[in-house]
C-alpha cells in the first residue's frame, strides 16, 4: 500500500522559503553548465553624443550569432547595456549587468567608459573583453580579468607612419610638406602630442609639418581654419577629426579650390558611411590610418557577407570588426573553459590563440597584461563610395591612388 505524503503548512512554507532563497541568489549563481548560453553583457554608448557609434557597434553584435554557429562555437546570450556616453553610467550599468547574471562583459568603444567598466569587472572578478578603446593605461594596471583586442594609441600612430612610408615608397610621389589640423578635444590634443612624438621616431617620414592648426570640433564654420591651412601651401593635409568636421573641412577644400596631394587622416570621420554618403564623389581620395580588418582573411569575407545581408548598404568598419572579435574571444574561451566560472573563463581568454580571425596580424593572442600586442593597423582609402585597404601590403586588396584626384577634376 502506498503511503500518502501529506504536505503540512510548515513544510510548504519551508519549501517556499527555500525556493525564494534559490530564486533570490540565482543571479549570483554564475557557474553554468556548458551547453547553456554564456551570458554576455554588451555595454555600448547607445545614447548620448556617441549614440551613432554605439548603434554601429551593435551591428557587429547583430551579425555575430550566425557566424559563431558556423564556427561551431557556443551560443551567447546577449544582455544589452547603455552607457549613455557617460563614464559614471558605464560603471553603474556594468555593476547592474553583473548583478543580473552577466558572466562576461564586452564594450564599450570609449577609453573613459572602458576604464570605469574595467575597474568594476576586476573588482567583481568577471572577465571583460574590450572591443574598442585605445588609451594605454587600461591594460597597464595589472588587471587579471581585463583583456583588450584593440591597438593602443602609440601602436595606432606608429603603424600609421609605417603604412604611410610604405605607400609613398610604392607610389614614388611623396609630399614634402604637410599642414596638421586637429580637433581641440581630449582625443585630438592627445593625438597631436602622440603624432609629434611618433613622427620624431620615423626619420624616413618624407614630409615636414609647416603648421599645426587646432580647431573647435563643434564649430559651425571651418572656412577660416581651411584658409589658414591653404595659405601654408602644404602638399599634404594631415587630419585628426570627427565626422562632422571632416565633412565641413572637405566642403571648404572644394569651395576654397584647394586640392592637396593627399589627405592623411589619423582618426575617425573621413571613412565613415555618412561622410561617403554626404559627399559622394568628393568623398573619394582621403587615406585613413585606422585599426581595420584584413579583407583577404576567410572570416572577413564571412563577416562582410553577414553584414551585407542584415544591414545592406553599410560598409564594414572598425566598430563592426572589433565588436565581433570581442564576442568571438568570449565564445572561443567559453568553449575551451567548459564552464562559465569567471576564473576558468579568464584563464581561457588568456590562453586564446585564434588564427581564423578578421583583424590584420597573426591572429588573436593576449600577453600577460591582457593586450593583443600582435595587432596591426591598416591604411584604407575611399574609392567610389567604398573603402579599400591599401597597406600594409600583406593585408591589402588595392593599390593606393596617390596623389588623389583634384576636386575640380571629378
Amino acid at each position: 500500500m502506498a503511503s500518502k505524503t501529506r504536505i503540512s503548512r510548515r513544510t510548504f512554507t519551508a519549501g517556499m522559503g527555500a525556493a525564494g532563497v534559490v530564486a533570490g541568489t540565482a543571479p549570483f549563481n554564475i557557474i553554468s553548465a556548458q551547453g547553456a548560453p554564456l551570458k554576455v553583457g554588451v555595454l555600448l554608448p547607445r545614447s548620448g553624443a556617441q549614440a551613432g557609434i554605439g548603434q554601429d557597434c551593435q551591428r557587429g553584435v547583430d551579425i555575430t550569432a550566425g557566424i559563431l554557429k558556423d564556427l561551431k562555437l557556443p551560443t551567447l546570450q546577449i544582455m544589452n547595456g547603455d552607457t549613455e556616453t557617460n563614464v559614471e553610467v558605464a560603471r553603474a550599468r556594468a555593476e547592474r549587468l553583473i548583478n543580473e547574471g552577466a558572466q562576461l562583459l564586452v564594450g564599450a568603444f570609449d577609453s573613459g567608459q572602458s576604464t570605469a567598466i574595467a575597474q568594476v569587472a576586476e573588482q567583481k572578478g568577471i572577465p571583460y573583453v574590450i572591443n574598442i578603446a585605445a588609451a594605454p593605461p587600461i591594460t597597464e594596471q595589472g588587471y587579471k580579468f581585463v583583456f583588450r583586442n584593440f591597438p593602443t594609441a602609440p601602436t595606432i600612430l606608429a603603424n600609421a607612419f609605417e603604412n604611410q612610408i610604405e605607400i609613398f615608397k610604392v607610389t614614388g610621389n611623396a609630399p614634402k610638406t604637410a599642414v596638421f589640423m586637429h580637433v581641440n578635444d581630449t582625443f585630438g590634443s592627445a593625438m597631436q602630442k602622440g603624432f609629434t612624438g611618433t613622427m620624431a621616431k620615423f626619420a624616413d617620414t618624407p614630409y615636414k609639418v609647416l603648421e599645426t592648426i587646432a580647431y573647435d570640433g563643434t564649430a559651425r564654420d571651418l572656412s577660416v581654419e581651411v584658409a589658414k591651412a591653404k595659405a601654408t601651401n602644404a602638399e599634404a593635409l594631415v587630419m585628426v577629426s570627427r565626422l562632422n568636421d571632416a565633412i565641413l573641412i572637405t566642403r571648404e577644400l572644394v569651395k576654397q579650390r584647394w586640392s592637396p596631394k593627399c589627405v592623411l587622416s589619423m582618426g575617425p570621420g573621413w571613412y565613415e558611411d555618412q561622410y561617403l554618403k554626404t559627399l559622394g564623389k568628393l568623398g573619394d581620395g582621403p587615406m585613413s590610418f585606422v585599426p581595420w580588418y584584413d579583407p583577404n582573411k576567410k572570416l572577413s569575407k564571412a563577416l562582410e557577407a553577414a553584414l551585407a545581408k542584415s544591414h545592406p548598404g553599410i560598409n564594414m568598419n572598425t566598430n563592426h570588426v572589433y565588436t565581433f572579435e570581442a564576442l568571438l574571444v568570449a565564445a572561443d574561451a567559453y568553449k575551451r573553459a567548459g564552464s562559465a566560472d569567471p576564473k576558468a573563463l579568464a584563464d581561457a581568454i588568456r590562453a586564446t590563440n585564434i588564427k581564423d580571425n578578421v583583424s590584420p596580424g597573426p591572429g588573436i593572442q593576449f600577453d600577460a597584461k591582457g593586450q593583443n600586442a600582435a595587432l596591426r593597423n591598416s591604411a584604407i582609402q575611399n574609392r567610389g563610395g567604398k573603402l579599400v585597404t591599401i597597406a600594409p601590403k600583406s593585408a591589402s586588396n588595392a593599390a593606393a591612388e596617390h596623389p588623389m584626384k583634384p576636386y575640380d577634376k571629378r
Binding site: 553624443a49 580647431y215 584658409a227 589658414k228 591653404k230 554626404t278 568628393l282
Partner: protein
C-alpha cells in the same frame, strides 16, 4: 600671408555675420517690443533648419525657395507660442519668464532628438560647392546667396516697421505700453504679432544657414548664446544694431581665428562683448536709458 587671403577671410566673416545678424534681429525685435528675452531663440532656429532638411529631402526644394514658407511656419509658431504660453507671463517676474523659455527650449531640443536623432544633418544644393573668384579672392557662393537673402529680409523688416500702420503700432507699443493701451491698440495681438515676426526672422536665418552649415539638435543653445552676444554688442532692442553686431562678430571671429588660433575664435567675440559692456553698456547702436 597675402592680401587676397586676408580679404577673403574678411569678406567671409562679413557674409556669415549678416546671416547671424538676421538671427539676432529676431531676438532684438522680440525684446524691444515684448520685453521678454527669448531663451529658446536658437532652438527655434534649429526647428527651421530641420524643416529645410525635411522639405529638401522630401521635395528637393532649394532653401532659397523655402525662405518664405519656412518663415511663415515659424511666424505661426511664434504667434501661437506668445498667445498661448508666453502672454500669461508678460507681467510676471523675469525669473519666471526665464524658466518658462528655458523649459520650452529643452522641450524643443529633446523633441528634435526624438524625431531626427543626434547625428548632424545637412543638405547639398547645386551650388553647395560653388565659389566666385574675384581677382584672386575666392568667395563662397552659398554664403553670398545667404547674406543677400538676409539683407533683403532685414530691409523688408525695416520697411515694415517704418512704413506700415501695423509696424508703427508695434513701435508705439514698444515706446509706451500705457499710451498704446490708451489710444486703443490691441496690445496682446500686437505682442503676438511681434513674437511671430521675431520667430519669422529666425526662420529665415535658419533657412539661409542650412546653405552653409549642418544642424544637430544640440546646436540650439550655441546659437541662442551667439544671438545674445550680437544683440548686446549691437544694442539690445536696436534693429540696425543687430545687423551691425552680427557683422562685427562675424568679422572678429574670422580675423581673430586667422591671425591667432582658430580654436579660440569665439574668445574674440566675447572680448568684443566685454569691451562694449565696459565702454558702451547700451551697445554700439543702443539708446542710453535714463
Amino acid at each position: 600671408m597675402t592680401t587676397e587671403v586676408v580679404l577673403k577671410i574678411a569678406i567671409s566673416g562679413v557674409l556669415t555675420g549678416l546671416v547671424y545678424g538676421l538671427m539676432a534681429l529676431g531676438l532684438s525685435v522680440i525684446f524691444g517690443v515684448v520685453r521678454v528675452v527669448n531663451f529658446a531663440h536658437g532652438e527655434m532656429m534649429t526647428i527651421a533648419m530641420y524643416l529645410v532638411i525635411v522639405f529638401f529631402s522630401a521635395l528637393g526644394l532649394d532653401p532659397l525657395l523655402m525662405l518664405v514658407p519656412i518663415s511663415a511656419v515659424l511666424f505661426a509658431l511664434g504667434y501661437l507660442m506668445q498667445r498661448a504660453i508666453i502672454n500669461p507671463f508678460i507681467n510676471r517676474p523675469e525669473h519666471s519668464q526665464f524658466m518658462l523659455l528655458v523649459a520650452i527650449a529643452l522641450i524643443m531640443v529633446n523633441a528634435l532628438l526624438l524625431i531626427f536623432g543626434p547625428d548632424s544633418q545637412g543638405i547639398t544644393t547645386s551650388y553647395s560647392f560653388d565659389s566666385f573668384d574675384i581677382g584672386g579672392i575666392i568667395i563662397d557662393a552659398g554664403k553670398v546667396y545667404a547674406a543677400i537673402a538676409a539683407l533683403i529680409v532685414a530691409v523688408a523688416l525695416f520697411a515694415f516697421f517704418r512704413l506700415t500702420l501695423t509696424g508703427k503700432a508695434i513701435r508705439a507699443c514698444a515706446d509706451n505700453y500705457n499710451g498704446a493701451l490708451v489710444v486703443g491698440l490691441d496690445v496682446k495681438r500686437l505682442y503676438a504679432l511681434t513674437f511671430g515676426i521675431g520667430a519669422a526672422c529666425v526662420g529665415a536665418a535658419g533657412t539661409m544657414l542650412m546653405i552653409v552649415t549642418d544642424v544637430t539638435p544640440a546646436i540650439g543653445p550655441a546659437y541662442t548664446l551667439l544671438a545674445f552676444v550680437i544683440v548686446i554688442t549691437g544694442g539690445l532692442g536696436s534693429m540696425p544694431g543687430a545687423i551691425v553686431g552680427g557683422i562685427l562678430i562675424g568679422l572678429t571671429e574670422a580675423l581673430g581665428g586667422f591671425f591667432f588660433t582658430p580654436s579660440a575664435k569665439t574668445m574674440f567675440s566675447f572680448a568684443i562683448l566685454v569691451l562694449v559692456l565696459l565702454f558702451r553698456p547700451q551697445g554700439i547702436m543702443g539708446r542710453k536709458t535714463a
